[in-house]
């Protein structure tokens, strides 16, 4: 019965859901790339010598983590026009997500560098490398290994949070599903289908991330020198 209903409607629902999914992809991908670059900047600022610069970076991270994404989206979409800047819903959605996730990714970068044992940097510096060389040749390659899984986890998180953009009328998957529901009065079927679509994207990615973390943890037990600290859970919770 349930599946029959879905089959009956799939001709109408299918293309519209896919169109929404496409937009979900754009917002997620765009938001993640923007967040990544912003996070590099923030983490760079957080390690400068000037206390004021470091403070600004830390303040940004604390604020972005303490305010709901929905509020940020509302501010960008509804409040900015008052200041003369009008963003499209998609732009507001992408920028809003990026602004928040930049804070989480900055923490991922920080944890990645932190996971490299201090002795590595010492060995590099004492052989006569400049701090920049030490970073580029010794710290960064090792830090990257520790960031891949958390980055993937954050990507999945961002994918889920892209649904919030529905509330500022971005025609992504969740908004489309709401429309379909109000047209068909079949919330159970529509939302179950939608949930399944999200699940189909998020779950495999989560599994890959978890497998990567496992492998990294096992490697860490065998590495040269003292054992490393376990990978810190820095992904956005939920």
């Amino acid at each position: 019965m349930f599946f029959q209903t879905i089959a009956d409607n799939i001709a109408d629902w299918g293309p519209r859901l896919l169109a929404g999914l496409r937009l979900t992809f754009s917002v997620t991908a765009g938001g993640f790339c923007l967040a990544f670059m912003l996070a590099l900047l923030i983490e760079f600022l957080r390690t400068r010598r000037h206390a004021a610069v470091r403070f600004i970076a830390r303040l940004y991270i604390a604020s972005a983590r303490g305010v709901p994404i929905l509020v940020i989206l509302y501010l960008l979409y509804f409040a900015l026009p008052g200041a003369g800047i009008t963003l499209s819903a998609v732009a507001a959605g992408t920028i809003g997500l990026a602004a928040v996730y930049a804070a989480y990714l900055a923490e991922v970068f920080r944890a990645g560098l932190h996971a490299v044992p201090a002795g590595q940097r010492e060995a590099a510096l004492s052989s006569g490398m400049s701090p920049l060389q030490a970073f580029r040749l010794v710290l960064l390659p090792q830090a990257v290994r520790h960031t891949i899984a958390p980055l993937l986890i954050n990507l999945v998180s961002l994918l889920k949070d892209s649904s919030i953009c529905a509330l500022i009328a971005v025609p992504e998957l969740t908004l489309v599903s709401r429309e379909l529901m109000s047209e068909s009065f079949l919330p159970l079927h529509v939302f179950a289908l939608t949930a399944l679509l999200y699940f189909g994207l998020a779950w495999p990615a989560s599994l890959v991330a978890r497998a990567l973390e496992q492998r990294l943890h096992q490697q860490g037990q065998r590495d040269s020198g003292r054992g490393k600290r376990p990978v810190v859970e820095v992904a956005a919770v939920g």
Partner: protein, 258 residues
């Protein structure tokens, strides 16, 4: 300054807040001289060693390598890590926990410094690395990743890595303390060979018998100060100060020396 003085350590002091770890430590090292720093845990010997290449910047005092002040600019201010890099390149350090770089092969570990700091070509650097690995009897492990080597092997690679700097001075920070007992010998053998070549070195170690054999001079530290020093054999065979006598006695009993 005598013509063959390599290292001058003058009035070295180090405090962490209220804790004084080093107080008024002074000694010189001549070219080709081998000095061992011994003493109980917490005596400051490792801190003293790490101050020489400014990994642990001293709060007071001066370090000079061939007359050049390490870590300080002419106006007395501390140098940045970037400014210190060329000076550190002249000093090779071997760490207690080896700290080999796990993302590089054994050969790449040894060749990295000559390539990236001294600008050697890749082939020259790799040849140098090969030679040095042969010197520490690990030529057959050159393409392995460090994690697959035993502790003793990793430490020997670390020694080859330090030698690749073609340093004026070698610093050993308790090189065998982190090794299983049966692996200690292979590392000590390599250090002995280096000493026999007449390389200048400062060696912090718990292996007293080894220090007696390899070092020209021994400095006994306790409580952050040099309590007794002199030619290796006479300091150990005829200790003068009560604290050194007590330290050596505690080692005989096989108990903890700290």
């Amino acid at each position: 300054m005598a013509a063959d003085t390599l290292l001058e350590v003058a009035n070295l002091g180090k405090t962490f807040g209220h804790l004084t770890v080093l107080k008024n430590v002074s000694f010189n090292l001549s070219r080709g001289e081998r000095v061992a720093l011994i003493g109980p845990s917490g005596s400051g010997k490792s801190t003293c060693l790490r101050a020489i290449n400014y990994l642990e910047p001293p709060t007071e005092g001066d370090i000079r390598l061939e007359g050049q002040s390490i870590g300080r600019r002419p106006n007395g201010q501390r140098m940045t890590d970037r400014e210190m890099a060329p000076q550190r390149a002249e000093i090779g350090m071997v760490f207690q926990h080896f700290h080999l770089w796990p993302h590089l092969s054994v050969r790449e570990n040894v060749a990295l410094q000559p390539r990236k700091v001294r600008g050697m070509s890749r082939s020259d650097a790799e040849m140098l690395a090969g030679d040095l690995l042969g010197k520490v009897h690990l030529a057959h492990k050159a393409e392995e990743m460090p994690q697959r080597l035993s502790g003793g092997q990793q430490q020997r690679v670390a020694i080859a890595r330090a030698l690749a700097q073609q340093p004026k001075l070698l610093l050993f920070d308790e090189p065998t303390s982190a090794l299983d007992p049966e692996l200690v010998g292979e590392v000590l053998t390599v250090i002995k060979e280096l000493a026999a070549e007449g390389r200048a070195m400062v060696l912090v170690t718990h292996e007293i018998a080894f220090a007696r054999e390899v070092a020209d001079r021994i400095l006994f530290m306790d409580g952050g100060q040099i309590v007794e020093e002199g030619p290796a054999k006479s300091v150990l065979d005829q200790p003068q100060s009560p604290r050194l006598k007590q330290f050596l006695a505690s080692l005989q009993l096989g108990g903890p020396d700290e």
